[in-house]
Amino acid sequence: MPEGRRRWWHHLTTQRPWLVTLYALVLGFVVGALVIITTTASVLDAWRAIFSSWSALGHAIKLTFDVVGAAYRTMFTGAVVNPRVFWHAVTTGQGWTYALTPMSETLTYAAPLIIASVGVGIAFQTGIFNIGANGQAILGGVAGAYAGSLIHLPTFLHLPLTLLAGILGGVAVGLIPGLLKAYTGAHEVIVTLMLNYVVAALLIFTLLSTALQQPGQQNDISRTIDPSAQLAPLFGAASGLRVNWGLAVAALVVVFAWWFLERSSLGFDFRVTGANPQAARASGINARAVIILVFVISGGLAGLAGIVQMAGTTHYLDGGFLIGNAGIGFTAITVALLGRNRPGGIVWSSLLFAGLGVGGRAMQAATGIPLDLATVIQSAVVLFVATPVLVQEIFRLRHTEAGEVRLATSGWGS
């Protein structure tokens, strides 16, 4: 092999954390392709035909690639950009809204996900498993809905107040496991997990309450928050693009998280605690304070994610808010792990997950393959990332001098 190509080859076969993530992504899409193949009747029929005639083999292979290709192509054009439509917009100056909608949608979904995942990631780096981000986000949304619909103020006061209410809602839910762990040693995984159910029930309760329910409604739907409390579309309402100022909030959160973890004294305490709690204690770090503060920050960010979701897109709450597939607080856990709990990595993994979700919907509309395929790919990617050894074996990666790629996180025992 020529020298240049050999270097590239070496680069691609030597184990590095980002490389493992990249290959995990590839494997995730391979798994997705297998699911498409084994669940599409026409593809299965084509393969069955080769039992009667070998000449059908060519057709079977072609059809397989066509079907999988169409699925992934529509997924891409639905989540990022459709080159044909984009080119049309460039040449004619028409249809920009149509060309940019996929990207706008992906960014709209990514913004709250980034915020929640950064919160979960900070907790992970401190050795705390905040499984309750979803409940914290829901109460953030509820608190924001109160502030946004029951108080009336000019935008420059109302929007910050609404966002602050969202943060405080998340903090309130986060403080429960935080205080319990700090003072009684209760395991945060159990407490946060259970609190999710409590908060989900509380959501329905408030939505049916006279205070928050949309007047004249019998269903679980809240009042719509004032326009002065909403996160306006980034490019103006006339643009037709949903991407809103929540993206700017997410960007601020990422910058803050980077500074916090890499530069701040408190962040240093957090990281020492996460990496070695015994050494943290011996070096004078107040473990109790760290636990409580982690939950304040992590819960606050989850609450902010909840209110950004609501104030940026729907502007009201309903019984399905962050429930089921929309549960960004749960997705945030996998997104944080995929991003190795670092703000920069989380931005990429959030975009990936948001893109898979948005693209999955486009794929479903165009090809009839269920949206759940996106979930299959997401889960497979996370599984492969969580088992670097498996990826190493499949791709025969060489070990670097630095040694093994570490697991993104290590058990939730302590």
């Binding site: 004294s265 020492v272 070695n276 050494a279 011996a282 070096s283 107040n286």
Partner: protein, 503 residues
């Protein structure tokens, strides 16, 4: 058994842990493998025991080449290993532990305890290894637990015994007993491969000494070789074995413990009404076999364990049950016993570890933001001053060798203003070169007027460093003696003979 190693080579990536090692252990011979930590001793033993596979070279047992796929095959060929950390089930009886994996059974797979007991009685009589087969292992002292390990190997018909640093956890008396056992085993024809870096023991018990350094056999010498020569072979340069120090000039007491009672994790009294004082400009060495309350005592002083009653003062200020932060800021330097667990964060950089106790102190941070430039400059300075070997101050600490990791803690603690230094097992696991270095640093600090409390289970260290020696047994101070006291008397105090050496 005659074990012969020919050209054994084992590489880990770019590192060659064993480089063409040739070694022959004759039947009935006690062959010592002497080398520093990281010289490749453990790797070699794991190769012999079938836990690692050599990249090159061959192993011959009684002239026949062998390839051990795993340790089970090595055991079947008559090789037994006593690990440094015992591989025993603490809640099982001696008999159960010895037969574990090769249990004699009756019909339907029921354990034949009577036969197990009988087998052990026979083996222990044959080799003069007295242990009660029905005793529960966790109730036995460490020396006896080790004896159970040896019995286990012998019960599997071991003809060659590998003893990996067997004396690290023993009292002087237990070490003597172990040596007697080794001699009698050798006399009955067993071969012994004895791994150590302690020169005294090596000279006392071996027939032949093979010195390895950086994975290579440096020399094979008779045990009559003097200590200084052995040490320089091992380290590769001349080393001073005794610490050069002048008589202490003790000043005011700085650290005082008055009638202190501390409980261990299980709630038992670990420190039982201990009173001690450490004066400025002196080294008080606290001797004792591990597990006699020294750990708990140090933790109580460092603010990491509750004091049940009594009083601890530092420079006249009460620090009883103060937080670690308070104690550290009050001028206490702490070199913890388990450095990787309590003293360092292995995944963080060398520079971060050097400010672990003082991350908020100027100039390392201001108004909540860290000054990474200052952290780095501090690291560059300390790496130079304390001769820490690293490729970069931004390397993760896990990339440093054990000796250099210990230097990181020593550098960190000694580079800030202190009133008292508490060092627990400061040289455990270090090679001769690093021990010499750490000792010199400690003596220097004492000469400059620092009060130093050393906790060590190494009698050599206690006697070399201590200006006074306090001996601890079962949570109590059994005596405070002068370093000129004989080893035997200190040994008796360590075993709990109160007042054996009132000096």
């Amino acid at each position: 058994m005659r074990l012969e190693l020919r050209g054994i080579t084992k590489r880990f990536g770019p590192l060659t842990a064993n480089d063409h090692i040739d070694l022959t252990v004759e039947p009935g011979q006690i062959h010592c493998l002497l080398g520093e930590n990281g010289a490749g001793k453990s790797t070699l033993m794991n190769v012999v025991f079938g836990l690692l596979h050599p990249d090159e070279g061959e192993i011959l047992v009684d002239g026949v080449p062998q390839r051990f796929a795993n340790s089970g095959e090595a055991v079947r060929k008559g090789i037994g290993m006593v690990h440094q950390h015992f591989m025993l089930v603490p809640v099982f009886s001696v008999a159960e532990n010895v037969v574990l994996g090769f249990e004699p059974t009756r019909s339907l797979g029921r354990l034949d305890r009577a036969r197990a007991r009988e087998e052990i009685r026979r083996t222990s009589q044959e080799f003069n290894l007295e242990v009660d087969p029905d005793a529960i292992v966790e109730n036995l002292p460490v020396g006896l637990q080790q004896r159970v390990e040896i019995l286990k190997a012998l019960n599997h018909d071991a003809e060659l015994l590998i003893l990996d640093e067997p004396t690290a956890v023993l009292t002087p008396q237990e070490i003597d007993a172990l040596m007697a056992i080794m001699r009698s085993l050798a006399a009955s024809g067993k071969s012994i491969l004895f791994i150590s870096h302690k020169l005294k023991e090596v000279r006392a018990v071996s027939d032949v000494v093979t010195v390895i350094r950086q994975g290579r056999v440096i020399d094979q010498v008779p045990p009559t070789t003097d200590e200084a020569t052995l040490a320089s072979l091992m380290v590769g340069r001349d080393v001073t074995l005794t610490v050069a120090k002048d008589a202490a000039a003790p000043g005011e007491p700085v650290l005082r413990l008055e009638d202190v009672v501390v409980r261990d994790d299980r709630g038992l009294v670990a420190v039982d009404h201990v009173s001690l004082s450490v004066h400025a400009g002196e080294i008080l060495a606290l001797a004792g076999v591990q597990g006699n309350g020294q750990t708990e005592l140090v933790e109580a002083v460092a603010g990491m364990r509750d004091v049940e009653s009594g009083r601890i003062t530092l420079g006249g200020r009460d620090i009883t049950n103060a937080t670690p932060r308070h104690v550290l800021d009050g001028g206490l330097g702490h070199i913890p016993e388990d450095r990787q667990r309590y003293g360092l964060v292995m995944s963080m950089t060398l520079a971060d570890n050097l400010v672990l106790n003082t991350p908020r102190r100027a100039p390392f941070a201001a108004r909540g933001t860290r000054n990474l430039g200052a952290v780095r400059a501090n690291a560059e300075d300390l790496v130079g001053r304390f001769d820490i070997r690293t490729t970069s101050v931004e390397s993760p600490l896990s990339a440093l060798s054990g000796g250099n990791q210990q230097k990181v803690i020593v550098a960190r603690e000694l580079s800030r203003p202190l009133e008292v230094l508490v060092a627990a097992q400061p040289t455990r696991g270090l090679d001769v070169g690093s021990i010499e270095y750490v000792h010199r640093q400690i003596v220097e600090q004492r000469n400059e007027g620092l009060a130093v409390l050393i906790v060590s289970s190494e009698l050599d260290e206690v006697m070399a460093l201590g200006d006074r020696i306090a001996v601890m047994h079962a949570g109590q101070i059994t005596g405070v003696v002068d370093p000129s006291t004989s080893r035997e008397q200190i040994g008796l105090l360590m075993a709990g003979a109160v007042g054996a050496a009132d000096a």
